[in-house]
């Protein structure tokens, strides 16, 4: 099995945590992996990307363009930065959260529409799996962590779910996060059970 995942989002969303969990699952199951997070310079709110390469013994950290089996994007505009990397036929998972830069909020700069993203994904020949932030469930009166919910959706609706076992992902989530274990499980399982939304 060789499977490459490209992540794009902004600092503070927990997108790198998805990659870390998957890298730990690979480690746990003896699947060769290289996980390369890239945080840029901002502590919060800046562009972050990461690359997870599964199944190769000796592998460079960078996925070539048109080489990613899956893209996981958690910010609408930043998802565009992943477009060159998706493989034709790959899964483009978009959690369409919007973190508007100041210039956009002030109406001084444009921000890409959801339709523009859809078009680019189509042009790249990929399958869009869209997760609307509005569908994020609540647990005990609070919205669950979006990243764990997204991870659940990925395991439920992409090819990755056939390559690694959901129990192993859940095991890593349980051992990695000592607090809020029930809420985390709930977030993950809710994502896993989400009805299919492919466009």
């Amino acid at each position: 099995m060789k499977y490459d995942i490209f992540f794009a989002g902004v600092g503070g969303q927990g997108i790198l945590t998805i990659g870390e969990v998957l890298a730990e699952v690979a480690h746990y199951k003896d699947i060769p992996a290289n996980f390369y997070p890239s945080k840029g310079m901002a502590q919060r709110g800046g562009f972050v990307k990461a690359q997870l390469r599964l199944g190769r013994e000796n592998v460079g950290p960078n996925i070539p363009q048109r080489g990613a089996d899956m893209v996981i994007a958690m910010e609408q505009s930043e998802s565009l930065k992943a477009i060159p990397f998706i493989k034709p036929g790959g899964d483009f998972v978009l959690y369409s959260d919007i973190w508007a830069p100041t210039a956009v909020a002030l109406g001084k700069a444009p921000y890409p529409t959801f339709a523009q993203i859809t078009e680019q994904v189509k042009l790249a020949g990929a399958r869009l799996v869209h997760i609307d932030p509005g569908q994020l469930p609540e647990y005990a009166g609070e919205l669950v962590h979006a990243n764990l919910y997204v991870l659940g959706v990925i395991m439920g609706q992409t090819a990755l779910g056939t390559l690694i076992r959901s129990e192993d992902v859940e095991h890593i989530i349980q051992t990695r996060f000592k607090r809020n274990t029930e809420a985390n499980s709930f977030a993950y399982r809710s994502g896993l059970g989400m009805p299919l939304v492919v466009s």
Binding site: V10, R44, G60, L80, P101, A105, A124
Partner: protein, 620 residues
């Protein structure tokens, strides 16, 4: 035990396996994770410290190595420039205990600064340099670097690039060995440990050259580089240096459908980037008709290859950067392997095989890096802006020099305040140059606390000595923040077990004889602006210390500066608060501005920007 660790951590574990006695360094992306991982281990027998700067770090490490113990010194490429004065001398003197200098380069400049290729520094210092292709190799080469250093009795470089330093992969880790408790060697030998006079210096130079030659023999014997010659001679030979080797197999796979046959190709994976692996290179030249060289940044290996080719009367072709096939800019990956194969073998591999649709990138919103919600620097930027306006000047009339670290973020919107960034501490010295050049408006220099200690202090001493009219604003957030919250000499040392002495900038400045010195709270923008305005009207060197702890770090300790509340009925959505502060805690609601309570630190800087009393401080 198999562990999932980064390249930085692989160096840390490798050094522990080598029984390292001391580890010193200064934070710098992407090298930081090595030393910070060791600090987190609370080691008993190994001293680990963030030093005040890289030069100091290397000198501390050298003292350990000259006493016969093993030492590791860590830094990013920019830090190596700071340490280089010391390093050349240490290379000349050699060492008794193993001394390994870890430097991280950043092809692609993902952390800003530069694409400096530090391999050339190994050439200049006649020091061996090792560079792994993967995280697992990093661990092995770290252990070997200490051995090599002790065998040649000289310091050894270990180089990583960002893609390995920050990558996680599985590595087989052994137990650390016990740190030697042997009595330190006290060797009094001025022929080795001083530089006074041509005889001493030229003798040391001779020994240095011999050490490098010996390093070449040792690494050849240990077969550190991986040479694989094809069964049939006459085909293609590929030299891949460092991380470039990690992309070979994948590139071969991509080229296979176009008739590329891996069996016909010879490869040399280079992990000893200096001294040049001449013996192995000559085998490649003797065996192959065409040579392809894959190395990021400068054509260092390539130049070495041309020299060997000339010496051997090689008639084949050498492809790399010097014939214009590859760029000296950016990271390498699978596309470069494929491109190189195509340019040499002409298999008809389409150019767009590995290039995606980059048109999409043009649609993405610009996201300039900016300060976090609650960042105390925000108040300082706004205050400097106000002070400039109070003098009836415009922002583009007042030179505000900047420095390395979070403080530079004032260069971006909405502040657009800072004009320059050179190197650690340069803001205050550069400002003096502008004054000498005859700039008539007040000149302001800005710097952070760690940067001030690192190299800014010398520039300030120079300004005082030469009686320059300038205002220095030290933005003291108490932490080395941009690299991920490391301690510096000014970081409050409030846990009883800590082993360092806090040094208060507020006591240093008066001791330098500076008459006009103020400490202000940047969350009090009016007061800060008033003080900076006053400073700009006075002659001589004035220092304003804007002091407030980094909000991220304060929040981690459960602190909260206050609470800001939106009075919805007063808000007319004029967005002035957002325009002035650019604070990420704000978002636009349907009828009023909204504040994310998770992000808001309650600094209150936004309150006075509102003319409609829609933002109010809540009692906490």
């Amino acid at each position: 035990m198999k562990k999932l660790i980064t390249g930085n951590e692989a160096i840390a574990y490798g050094a522990l396996r080598a029984g390292v006695k001391a580890v010193t360094g200064y934070p710098g992306t992407p090298s930081t994770g090595c030393l910070s991982s060791l600090l987190a281990m609370d080691l008993v027998d190994t001293h680990v410290e963030w030093s005040v700067n890289e030069k100091v770090a290397l000198e501390v490490a050298t003292g350990v190595a000259w006493s016969g113990h093993r030492a590791l010194c860590t830094m990013k490429m920019s830090g190596l420039n700071v340490a280089y004065d010391t390093l050349i001398s240490v290379a000349y003197s050699g060492c008794d205990g193993g001394l390994v200098v870890y430097v991280a380069d950043d092809p692609g400049a993902s952390a800003g600064m530069c694409e400096q290729d530090s391999r050339s520094f190994a050439v200049m210092a006649d020091m061996p340099m090792l560079e792994p292709a993967t995280v697992a190799e990093t661990y092995e080469l770290t252990k070997f670097a200490f051995e090599l250093s002790e065998r040649i009795k000289g310091p050894v470089f270990l180089r990583l690039v960002t893609g390995i330093a920050d990558s996680y992969a599985e590595v087989e880790i052994e137990e650390p060995v016990l740190v030697s408790q042997a009595a330190p060697l006290l060797i009094k030998d001025i022929q080795r440990y001083t530089k006074a006079g041509a005889v001493i210096a030229t003798n040391q130079h001779r020994d240095l050259i011999q050490r490098l030659e010996q390093a070449g023999q040792i690494t050849d014997e240990a077969k550190i580089n991986k040479l694989s010659l094809s069964r049939k001679p006459g085909g293609l030979g590929i030299l891949a240096s460092g991380i470039a080797a990690a992309y070979l197999e994948e590139g071969f796979e991509a080229a296979a459908p176009f008739g590329f046959n891996r069996e016909d190709v010879s490869t040399l994976e280079i992990k000893v980037v200096h001294p040049f692996p001449a013996a192995e290179a000559r085998k490649m030249l003797a065996h192959c008709q065409t040579i392809l060289i894959l190395e990021e940044l400068e054509p260092l290996i390539e130049r070495g290859m041309y020299v060997e080719a000339q010496r051997m009367g090689y008639r084949g072709k050498i492809t790399g950067k010097l014939d214009g096939v590859f760029s000296r800019i950016g990271e390498y990956g699978v596309p470069q392997v494929v491109q190189g194969i195509e340019s040499v073998l002409r298999l008809g591999i389409p150019e767009n095989l590995l290039s995606g649709n980059t048109q999409a990138l043009k649609l993405a919103a610009a996201r300039p890096i900016t300060v976090c919600a609650g960042c105390p620097h925000r108040g300082t930027y706004i205050a400097i802006d106000k002070a400039i306006k109070k003098l009836r000047l415009k922002k583009n009339e007042v030179m505000v020099t900047g420095d390395i670290g979070c403080t530079i973020l004032g260069m971006n919107p909405p502040f657009d305040l800072i004009w320059t960034e050179i190197s650690m501490g340069a803001s205050v010295s550069l400002a003096q140059g502008y004054v000498h050049a005859g700039v008539k408006t007040p000149v302001i220099a800005t710097i952070g606390d760690s940067t001030f200690f690192h190299a800014g202090i010398a520039g300030l001493v120079n300004a005082i000595q030469h009686q320059i009219d300038l205002t220095l604003v030290i933005m003291d957030n108490r932490w080395t923040a941009m690299t991920g919250m490391q301690v510096n000499p000014g970081t409050p040392c409030n846990n009883g077990a800590s082993t360092y002495q806090e040094i208060d900038i507020a006591r240093i400045i008066p001791a330098l004889g500076i008459e006009h010195f103020w400490t202000v709270d940047p969350f009090d923008v009016e007061e800060t602006a008033g003080v900076i305005h006053q400073a700009m009207t006075l002659p001589g060197v004035k220092v304003v210390l804007a002091r407030q702890e980094c909000a991220i770090q304060a929040q981690r300790q459960g602190k909260q500066a206050g609470k800001v509340h939106v009075v919805e009925e007063n808000c007319n959505l004029c967005k002035l608060c957002l325009m002035v502060t650019g604070c990420s805690a704000f978002s636009l609601g349907a009828n009023a501005i909204e504040i994310d309570p998770e992000l808001c630190y309650g600094c209150g800087v936004c309150i006075e920007t509102c003319h409609h009393d829609a933002l109010v401080a809540e009692e906490v």
